[in-house]
């Protein structure tokens, strides 16, 4: 599976609320988004909550068409969800809770008609990669929150997509588990070299994981405020250098958060 580049060209997104009491209730969520993500890059999208980060990810995933502009995947426009883009969702809603851990992971290969002995190997490999050995026959609701996120990652990796789209995958986890998961993801990414689009509102998370961080402005009509490269070896710790960057990013984010607070009704 080759690596893909993603080109987001002048994308805008407008939600229309038809049931609005008076007038046309149109909400301009995004405006003039331009991104260029290169093959194998770990790209973090950072922004205040409600700014439309997830909307961008959903458009790249093909769940939602852009109202204006275009998203290209290796030069071709996106026409709906595809196996070249694996999505790790924010919560548990995307997990098939009637299937065991093993059956969840083998879902992708099974849908594509891959033979049983072949997908068994794929499952075993990915169970090992995310550290869920011994839990193959468990139901998802018997697992902890962190394990369920790992299950989602394994399920996506079993399909070996060129692109990983991750929507605040560790947002609901406690601080310790989150830190462990970040290191694990860093390790998995290093071994599999996929293009990753990672949505987060956690500055430290973005600094530890990303090759590049794009900061978004507050909504409505959110757009990309700035972006910075982080050319540091992994595994990373928050050393002097990153802490300096952190102050910079924090100042930029705080400006947007205050803006967002002032706009609240």
């Amino acid at each position: 599976m080759g690596n893909y580049d993603i080109e987001v060209k002048n994308v805008g997104c407008v939600f229309s609320a038809r049931h609005g009491a008076r007038g046309s209730d149109e909400y301009i969520a995004l405006r003039g988004i331009n991104l260029s993500i290169s093959p194998g890059e770990f790209f973090c999208l950072l922004g205040p909550s409600g700014c439309g980060k997830s909307t961008i990810l959903r458009m790249i995933a093909g769940f939602l068409p852009p109202t204006s502009g275009q998203i290209l995947l290796s030069g071709k426009p996106i026409k709906g969800p595809g196996i070249d883009r694996g999505v790790v969702f924010q919560g548990d809603a995307a997990i098939f809770n009637w299937l065991t851990v093993e059956e969840n992971i083998s879902f992708g290969p099974r849908m594509q008609g891959i033979s049983k002995d072949k997908y068994r190997r794929i499952v075993a490999e990915n169970v090992r990669l995310v550290g869920l050995e011994g839990f193959e026959q468990y139901q998802p609701q018997q697992l902890s929150g962190g394990m369920r996120q790992r299950l989602q990652i394994a399920r996506v990796l079993a399909n070996d997509p060129g692109i990983l789209l991750m929507d605040e995958p560790f947002g609901a986890l406690d601080a310790q588990t989150r830190e462990i998961m970040q290191q694990e993801l860093s390790r998995i990414w290093s071994s599999r070299k996929k293009t990753v689009v990672f949505i987060t509102h956690d500055i430290d998370e973005a600094l530890i994981l990303g090759d590049r961080i794009a900061i978004m402005t507050a909504g409505p009509a959110a757009t990309i405020k700035s972006s910075l490269n982080i050319d540091r070896p992994r595994p990373r710790e928050l050393n002097e250098e990153l802490l300096r960057l952190r102050r910079e990013v924090k100042a930029a984010i705080e400006e947007e958060v205050t803006k967002a607070m002032r706009q609240m009704p």
């Binding site: 995933a61 694996g86 919560g91 879902f107 594509q112």
Partner: protein
């Protein structure tokens, strides 16, 4: 550390046992209470034709069992329910799935759903007799209608309440729309389908009894209605208690199936 854990486990185990014991004690005490009050009331009223005692009811039951009437009527009612319920479920589930899946089907069916939901099946008893006669068909049709309605609506609700992310996840894992339907939509709707089947079971009992009271020569409803003519109040009591037991047993059977075969779907019944 290990020792402490074991102790706490043992303590928890004991508390659980106590819960189970007190549950059964309360269950038994409740039955004893009911029978005591019933006995006292029957004695106080003193008119068996008005309120027969538990003893008289038991005698009535033995008589009905001996002369085979109870068995005959139970079989009649039960076979109507089983046939109607089976047909209704077989049509209701696919119909509900289509209603949940397609906006057009939903829009087409919606006026009828909204209209008929306020009409109890009992209201159709006379009409069913005019159309389908006094035989088995009219009763079975009524139960099919009751079951189909409940099962279809609940199946539709189940399909509509599936989290969109489940569908999206399946799609980007390479599933086709058809595969999403069979591997995500149906399993995710199962808890709701079972809820519909459970409600339909209760409604089927109500429908069959009322239909039998109006026009039938067999069935528990007929037994109750016919006993009234001879002022055999204890037989009415036997009929009512039999209905309760039949309902209880069928509900337990459904629960058993749900808890064993459908365990992984987290069906709550």
């Amino acid at each position: 550390m290990t020792e402490m854990t074991e102790v706490s486990v043992a303590r928890k185990q004991r508390r659980w046992d106590n819960d189970a014991v007190s549950h059964y004690v309360a269950f038994g005490a409740s039955l004893v209470c009911a029978f005591t009050i019933w006995t006292i009331l029957a004695w106080w009223v003193g008119k068996p034709a008005f309120l027969p005692s538990p003893r008289a009811t038991l005698d009535g039951a033995i008589e009905l069992i001996r002369n085979g009437q109870l068995m005959e009527n139970v079989t009649a009612s039960l076979s109507r329910i089983v046939i109607g319920y089976f047909i209704g479920t077989c049509i209701g589930i696919p119909l509900g799935l289509f209603m949940g899946k397609s906006k057009i089907v939903r829009a087409f069916v919606d006026p009828y759903v909204e209209f008929f939901r306020f009409i109890p099946p009992i209201a159709f008893v006379t009409l069913a007799i005019i159309w389908f006669g006094l035989g088995e068909t009219s009763k079975i049709v009524l139960i099919v209608y009751t079951t189909l309605f409940m099962v279809a609506i609940n199946t539709m609700i189940g399909v509509l309440s599936i989290e969109p992310d489940k569908r999206f996840a399946a799609l980007c894992l390479g599933a086709s729309e058809r595969q999403v339907f069979f591997h995500v939509t149906i399993p995710a709707a199962i808890p709701s389908i079972v809820t519909g089947m459970k409600i339909a079971m209760g409604n089927s009992f109500m429908t069959v009894v009322s239909a039998e009271m109006i026009a039938a020569k067999t069935g528990i409803g007929y037994l109750i209605m016919n006993s009234r003519l001879f002022l055999l109040t204890e037989w009415i009591f036997v009929g009512i208690i039999t209905l309760g037991l039949m309902g209880f047993i069928s509900d337990r059977a459904l629960r058993l199936v749900a808890n064993t075969m459908l365990r992984r779907y987290a069906v709550k019944v």
